[in-house]
């Protein structure tokens, strides 16, 4: 059954329109960041900029406390992910490899914790952190972010651990390894790609988090998310600098995301075909 020319053409036209719809905000963010001020405030927006400038990026980078916030964001993000990987590896090993009473209950708990409504727990979190005199500090933020990404980390790692053949571990046990040694020497190296992929999701979550840092931290304790949403106090109506800041903030996420898309796709496929 051959489709008519129109029948073959319209899906492509719609696809192009949709592509523009989805990419345009990203495109507009990046081009605004590079446009000279005159082009930004002109009464006819310059859709395809011909003059490029870095001044907005320079302004964003030199904004008060920018590098402090970059440091804070990296600290809480990496801290949360590393902590959650350590805690999650232990638990997911138990869940993937051992049978014990309460295993199902534990998995259910993890599934529910994954859906925890952090956005509406802000009041009690604020009071708990305030009572511990830890407002504006990075530690509580790191710990709560750790808890945010922990369920997902356990859930995914459990799959990766289950994919490591049990026979390898048993062989190591036969050869005289203790259970711990066999885990460190056999399972852990094979788990490296899984740990990578899992941690990237955690990075994105922690890097983007907004509701908690909004209530817990101010001034020098801010992260980039909070700083970015307060661009009007930072830059006034300077959209160029604001978009430069937004581009800065987005870049690491997009890099990780594109990397992850390819990896996760490949990983899932290779796992599915294996008989």
């Amino acid at each position: 059954m051959r489709r008519s020319l129109a029948g073959r053409l319209w899906p492509n036209i719609i696809a192009v329109v949709l592509f523009v719809f989805f990419i345009f905000p990203v495109y507009w963010m990046v081009t605004t960041a590079f446009k000279p001020d005159l082009d930004i405030v002109s009464s006819t927006p310059v859709l395809f900029p011909t003059h490029w400038t870095f001044t907005h990026f320079v302004k964003a980078v030199h904004a008060d406390g920018f590098w402090t916030f970059v440091g804070n964001s990296f600290f809480v993000t990496i801290g949360a992910v590393v902590l959650s990987l350590i805690v999650a590896t232990l638990s997911s090993f138990a869940v993937a490899r051992m049978r014990f009473k309460g295993r199902k209950a534990f998995i259910l708990m993890i599934m529910m914790a994954q859906m925890a409504p952090w956005e509406v727990l802000t009041i009690s979190v604020y009071l708990i952190v305030r009572d511990s005199n830890a407002l504006n500090s990075l530690l509580p933020l790191t710990l709560f972010y750790m808890m945010m990404v922990l369920p997902f980390t356990i859930w995914t790692l459990r799959g990766f651990i289950a994919a490591v053949p049990k026979e390898l571990e048993e062989a190591a046990l036969v050869d005289g390894c203790t259970r711990f040694q066999s885990f460190v020497r056999i399972v852990l190296p094979l788990l490296a790609p899984g740990l990578m992929a899992t941690s990237l999701f955690g990075y994105i979550t922690a890097w983007n988090e907004y509701a908690l840092v909004l209530i817990l931290n101010k001034d020098s304790g801010q992260t980039l998310t909070l700083w970015l949403t307060q661009f009007q106090t930072n830059f006034g109506d300077d959209w160029g600098a604001t978009m430069a800041a937004a581009s800065f903030f987005t870049l690491p996420v997009v890099v990780v995301f594109l990397f992850l898309q390819r990896r996760a796709g490949g990983g899932l496929l290779s796992g599915a075909v294996k008989g």
Binding site: A15, V26, I86, A88, A113, P117, T225, F249
Partner: protein
């Protein structure tokens, strides 16, 4: 037949002790003589080992998630305002906060608004996401790649950055949207203040949420569609089924678990969406775009009525729990092995 049945049955419950498993017997046989003390100690240790491994997770969950939940519940039964906060006193008022909320028109307006907002967004996300997923299946390789790139970028865009960009797109004076609408002849949109009205603010938020959420649905649906074998579509076409019928009688039944779980996930995500709603316009103008999570935040932190805010957030959690229990029922049904 009988022997086979017995064989499978003995292998089932305890593989380590049954002789048919040559490997296990060999391991047990070779390990026993050389180290006689080990089996009993590992036996006892391995009974506690799983719980030991779970301990860090359990402690973290109890302290960082369980305690905030309980604390939130306790606060919701208290009068907690700046006075009590500074004095460090605890003033219980029973169900006072709940009674206030459940009899206040503000609460019910906000709840209704939240439900309408969620319904509108989820319907748009699911319908458009499904259509785009189906379109991806129909496209040629290059066009599919092009559209996927657009989708992945929208998906990867962090919510706070997206919010900032949408504020710029819909800016009153220099926003490209106002310019475009004015350009195509809708002159009333010249210098239109999108964030100054309830419906137009909701329109921007909805566009932003839908824009950011469609990729998840579309790309996952496409991934699901590739698992449906081509013969089935071929057969449907040979039988003369229209695209509409093919979808409802072939695709939808096969991917029903996907549609169910995705819809519930989206409902939960949109219902508790805080970042987009708050960062765009802080629930304004005049609180007219506050959804329940934003309302709880504004009452709690903005107006310093922590007890009231906690009560609102508990009510929100109850609604979310109801939604989640449905979601878990769907998930557990489709996943027989946990």
């Amino acid at each position: 037949m009988a022997a086979q049945y017995r064989g499978t049955k003995t292998r089932g419950p305890d593989p380590a002790v049954t002789p048919p498993q040559a490997g296990a017997a060999l391991v047990a046989g070779s390990a026993k003589p050389s180290r006689p003390a080990r089996p009993s100690t590992t036996g006892r240790a391995s009974r506690f080992l799983p719980y030991l491994l779970l301990l860090p997770t359990l402690v973290a969950t109890a302290v960082l998630l369980g305690y905030p939940l309980v604390r939130n519940l306790l606060i919701s039964f208290q009068t907690l305002e700046p006075f009590q906060l500074i004095q460090h006193t605890t003033e219980w008022n029973g169900f006072g906060n709940y009674a206030d909320q459940l009899t206040s028109s503000d609460f019910w307006h906000t709840a209704g608004r939240s439900v309408a907002f969620t319904a509108a967004n989820v319907v748009l996300i699911m319908v458009a996401g499904t259509l785009i997923g189906l379109l991806l299946k129909r496209l040629g390789k290059r066009m599919r790649l092009l559209l996927s790139i657009g989708l992945v970028f929208a998906w990867a865009m962090p919510q706070v950055a997206g919010t900032t960009v949408y504020q710029w797109l819909f800016d009153t004076r220099n926003g490209v949207v106002n310019w475009a609408l004015d350009g195509v002849g809708w002159h009333a949109m010249h210098n239109y203040n999108w964030l100054g009205h309830q419906l137009s603010t909701f329109a921007v938020i909805t566009l932003m949420v839908v824009w950011g959420s469609i990729p998840f649905v579309a790309l996952n649906l496409f991934a699901g569609l590739t698992t449906v074998s081509a013969e089935i579509f071929e057969a449907a076409r040979m039988d003369g089924a229209s695209a509409w019928r093919t979808f409802w009688q072939v695709v939808f039944p096969m991917l029903k678990p996907f549609f169910l779980s995705t819809t519930f996930l989206e409902v939960i995500w949109v219902f508790k969406a805080f970042t987009q709603v708050y960062a765009l316009n802080a629930g304004g103008p005049e609180g007219l775009t506050e959804t329940l999570p934003v309302y709880a935040y504004v009452e709690g932190f903005g107006n310093q009525h922590f007890g009231t805010g906690a009560a609102i957030s508990m009510l929100t959690i109850v609604i979310l729990m109801a939604l989640m229990s449905y979601y878990f029922r769907v998930i557990l049904k489709q996943e027989d092995e946990l």
